[in-house]
Symmetry: C2
Subunit: 313 residues, 2 copies
């Protein structure tokens, strides 16, 4: 018999002076997404530092879980410091770090190389985990000419391709990861080549004024040509949660995931068994949340992170 879960999804509750107290009392760690939650581009969202400071002063653990793979943990810690927020590397779980941890976990051989569609931070995390990354910004200016009889040379020792947000994406890189009849670097023709995606976010707020194509754009390009699906290490996959639990040893039912995106942040929180809070300061607005076609309902929603502080006062 086919038993379906027919429980209706409970609509999200607006955060209120009443329920914020229950939330606060039941949670030992707050997990924050960054883009659209903490900042937009290099601009902090109003009231964030005071709210984080209050949470820390009340003994809450703070963790930052971001799908943006362009920076390493070290670079994120620097960014937090430059914005006047004291955060240490251990509190940051970025999808760049997750990609490196995934390779470590599966004992990916250190004598094989990793081709990267992505930026500096992703290469740095791979290097810190002991791997050799190729591609990245270095291949951003390379061109490939479709001349007759032209054969594309590949590094034979590449055993994995990692795809994240890359503002230097080009045809050269797409070709590198997609197809080569003679090398091992080849998702399409070599089933042994790993295809890892840091995340699949459609768009991001890489600057404070506009949306920009996200890693989902690059990943879709690869899927479109290889017709293979990647291993996704970023949200909504709970892969990062295992590392987070090792570090903090707090039951996920005592965590609250705070994010601006339903299909990554809120789904990640729900998949891991956390309480979830959607903030409307990023890519999701109230009408999207309440649209009948949306079937991802967080426990709570509010305009921005600092509402926690305001409502607790």
């Amino acid at each position: 018999m086919n038993v379906e879960n027919c429980k209706a999804t409970r609509p999200s509750q607006p955060l209120s002076p009443q329920n914020v107290r229950d939330l606060f009392a039941s949670v030992d760690a707050f997990l924050f997404d960054c883009d659209g939650v903490i900042w937009k581009g290099n601009t902090l969202i109003d009231g964030v530092p005071q709210t984080l400071e209050m949470l820390r002063s009340k003994g809450k653990k703070l963790v930052f879980v971001t799908n943006n793979s362009t920076k390493s943990r070290r670079q994120y810690a620097e960014k937090f410091h430059s914005l006047g927020i004291p955060v240490c590397e251990d509190e940051i779980f970025s999808s760049s770090f997750a990609a490196a941890m995934y390779l470590k976990l599966i004992d990916f051989p250190r004598d094989k190389k990793v081709y990267v569609i992505g930026e500096e931070g992703l290469l740095e995390e791979l290097e810190r985990a002991g791997y050799t990354g190729l591609g990245g910004p270095d291949d951003g200016k390379k061109m490939v000419q479709l001349k007759p009889n032209s054969l594309f040379e590949h590094d034979m020792s590449v055993g994995a391709v990692v795809v994240g947000l890359d503002q230097y994406i080009n045809y050269y890189k797409l070709h590198m990861v997609i197809t080569c009849r003679y090398g091992t670097l080849c998702i399409r023709e070599n089933p042994g080549c790993l295809f890892i995606a840091t995340n699949q976010d459609a768009v991001g707020h890489m600057t404070d004024l506009q949306e920009w194509p996200g890693a989902g754009c690059m990943v879709a390009a690869i899927c479109g040509s290889t017709q293979k699906e990647p291993i996704v290490v970023g949200k909504p996959s709970t892969f990062m949660m295992d590392f987070l639990l090792q570090k903090f040893q707090i039951d996920t039912s005592k965590m609250c995931m705070v994010g601006d995106r339903l299909d990554t942040d809120i789904l990640f929180g729900q998949n891991a068994g956390c309480t979830t809070l959607l903030v409307l300061s990023g890519v999701t607005n109230l009408s999207t949340l309440q649209d009948p076609s949306n079937n991802i309902q967080p426990d709570y929603h509010t305009n921005k992170v600092s509402d926690i502080l305001k409502l607790l006062e």
Copy 2:
């Protein structure tokens, strides 16, 4: 009551000295795909000129239907001539031409512009149809920097985006077509902006030695960020068939579509009611054709176009 079509698909028959005569007798026009059928890169596939010459001499119409949008009809005619095959522009139906014809058909206003992810041939067809194309190779070297407070300027008069194979694809172009909060050039935020794909081929044989990322790669990148589906004017859409019928006035049951790709060529032929012949000189091999997971069966298959000539002798 839900009535499903349960007719089992008849497995493809290898072309033989017997059935090739039936095929030849029943068909007034042969429709040929080009890449992987007529040529690979700039190299003709063995026996093609003699076969085409024989078909013409027996009064068969020859038509060339290609999803490769990098060339215009004029440029394809030139390529045929340079390879020693007399083909005129009217016999060529390329997806670059189809994209321009689509805009004409819907009376797309001539004072609006068309942003192009694609190459020279696509721009040329748009221009010949009276439209102004932007982007293309000209934007291939442009870069976009994700700086805080940076705002991307868009041409406000763009009303359609056409996406085809583009070896100069970059983040600048992806951003141009995906998102702009302030302009009309915006598939993502402006429902009025048309999103047209020349085709969705995953890979192509742009050179004779390797497979290369196809237009499907670029189209998927846009879909991945916009989460919208394009209007596809190339095969397997039968959009081009209407123009072909206007020109040749032959019933589709009297046509045979010859191609190397199941999900474009053969499906196109079947959708239009043609007889279909798969040649194994391109992207599809016999084991793919006969794999139980493949549900697209042509009427016939053979190694290459010149088998028609050989088997008729």
